[in-house]
């Protein structure tokens, strides 16, 4: 299965406009209920994401069958809420936001050099773009060029107030020149580092390789490697800039928590070693947050790129391991 991802927001422009208009007048919780009762059950019936997320809970988080099935439903409901929240922001609604590690961001904005913020498709990263803002350093957010015009228009409107520029990933690679220029000009570049988008080059890491129960019992189940894009790590180390991991997790119906964590690497080490150290630090922080918020994992594709045969084998190993520990 292909683990490249060409992500775009669901729905057409008319739907997006309608949603924003609606959210100006109603409480987001009304839409949460609508999504949970009507939208998610249909999605679960029609969409292959059901199996992908179920296997993620079974094989990566280590839940049993029933719990995995329930958490698959919860995961889709939360994803629906995150999409509603995104449009609620476009409609002018505010959320309670707590930041852990804000001083790390502030410290880097005071320095002359540019820096990189790496995110992932967990929680609701877009909130960070409207919250972590600097008057002195422009933030350049790398976005998917194929995103719907309505989303791009609304993002531009929101970002215009927050000293943020969007750089779209282009097939002619012009985005690379923009990223490089932004960093050498001392600006901030923000991008996700969990999906392979643009360059097919990747770096493999043992990520959520196996549940703790599996680790304890079976050496063979010590996870298959997951592929992460090489680009974000190559960009940061090419300019030897500082890097922050920034992830935004939904903490309550109206609240989000932003986690800002510095990712360290030895800038005097050989280039390949720098890339390895930086990607190690990123994956480790991602795993920490996914273990804390397992239901907010929104990579609805075969992230580990396993064959069906491997996947079945892992499911059996996981089941045996659970029986032994029960």
């Amino acid at each position: 299965m292909n683990n490249n991802w060409a992500g775009t927001t669901y729905g057409n422009e008319w739907m997006h406009r309608w949603l924003i208009r609606l959210l100006r007048h109603i409480d987001t919780r009304v839409l949460y209920v609508f999504v949970a009762v009507f939208v998610v059950p249909i999605c679960l019936m029609l969409n292959p994401s059901r199996g992908i997320i179920y296997r993620y809970f079974r094989q990566r988080i280590g839940y049993g069958r029933l719990k995995s099935a329930w958490k698959t439903y919860v995961n889709h409901c939360l994803f629906g809420q995150v999409v509603v929240d995104k449009f609620a922001m476009y409609a002018g609604k505010k959320f309670n936001i707590e930041i852990e590690g804000a001083e790390q961001f502030t410290e880097l904005t005071k320095q002359k050099e540019g820096f990189v913020m790496l995110s992932a498709h967990i929680g609701n990263y877009e909130i960070a773009g409207y919250t972590l803002v600097s008057k002195v350093k422009r933030l350049n957010a790398l976005v998917f060029a194929g995103e719907k015009a309505s989303v791009m228009r609304n993002r531009s409107k929101m970002f215009a107030e927050t000293n943020t520029n969007m750089i779209a990933i282009q097939p002619d690679m012009s985005h690379l020149f923009e990223i490089d220029k932004a960093l050498t000009d001392g600006e901030i570049v923000s991008m996700s580092a969990d999906r392979i988008n643009g360059s097919p080059k990747f770096i493999e890491h043992d990520f959520l390789g196996a549940s703790p129960a599996e680790h304890a019992s079976d050496a063979e189940s010590h996870g298959t490697k997951a592929k992460f894009p090489l680009g974000p790590f190559a960009i940061a180390t090419a300019r030897m800039v500082n890097v922050l991991a920034v992830n935004v997790m939904k903490s309550s119906l109206r609240g989000y928590k932003i986690y800002v964590t510095p990712l360290h690497y030895d800038k005097s080490a050989p280039r390949q070693e720098q890339i390895k150290q930086l990607s190690d630090a990123y994956v480790s922080e991602l795993e920490r947050l996914v273990r804390r918020y397992p239901t907010q994992w929104y990579n609805y594709f075969d992230f580990w790129g396993e064959s069906l045969e491997q996947s079945d084998k892992r499911t059996k190993l996981s089941a045996e391991s659970h029986r032994k520990h029960d």
């Binding site: 690679m173 012009s174 020149f177 490089d180 190559a234």
Partner: protein, 86 residues
């Protein structure tokens, strides 16, 4: 020019870790990108941008120039010769 092409081939080979590619097989006129040529991609472009800045003091900031400059080693060499600061 021929010496500059040779230097660039060596520098690109080292920067991109192209161990399997011999300098003799590294055609100066072959397209750097796509299936027909060397098969480099966007991350490799970034490495070459940094290389040109470090070795020749050239800072490429105009995205419109990029496509023409990075067509082949020869086009890079022509650009370097005309714009080098080192």
């Amino acid at each position: 020019m021929e010496q500059l092409i040779k230097d660039l081939k060596l520098q690109i080979k080292e920067a991109l870790n192209l161990e399997e590619l011999s300098l003799e097989d590294f055609d100066a006129d072959a397209p750097l990108f796509g299936d027909e040529g060397i098969g480099l991609d966007s991350i490799d472009v970034l490495e070459i941008i940094v290389l040109l800045e470090k070795e020749y003091g050239i800072r490429l900031a105009n995205p419109k120039e990029g496509k023409a400059i990075f067509k082949s080693v020869r086009t890079i060499a022509e650009y370097v010769q005309a714009n080098r600061k080192k």
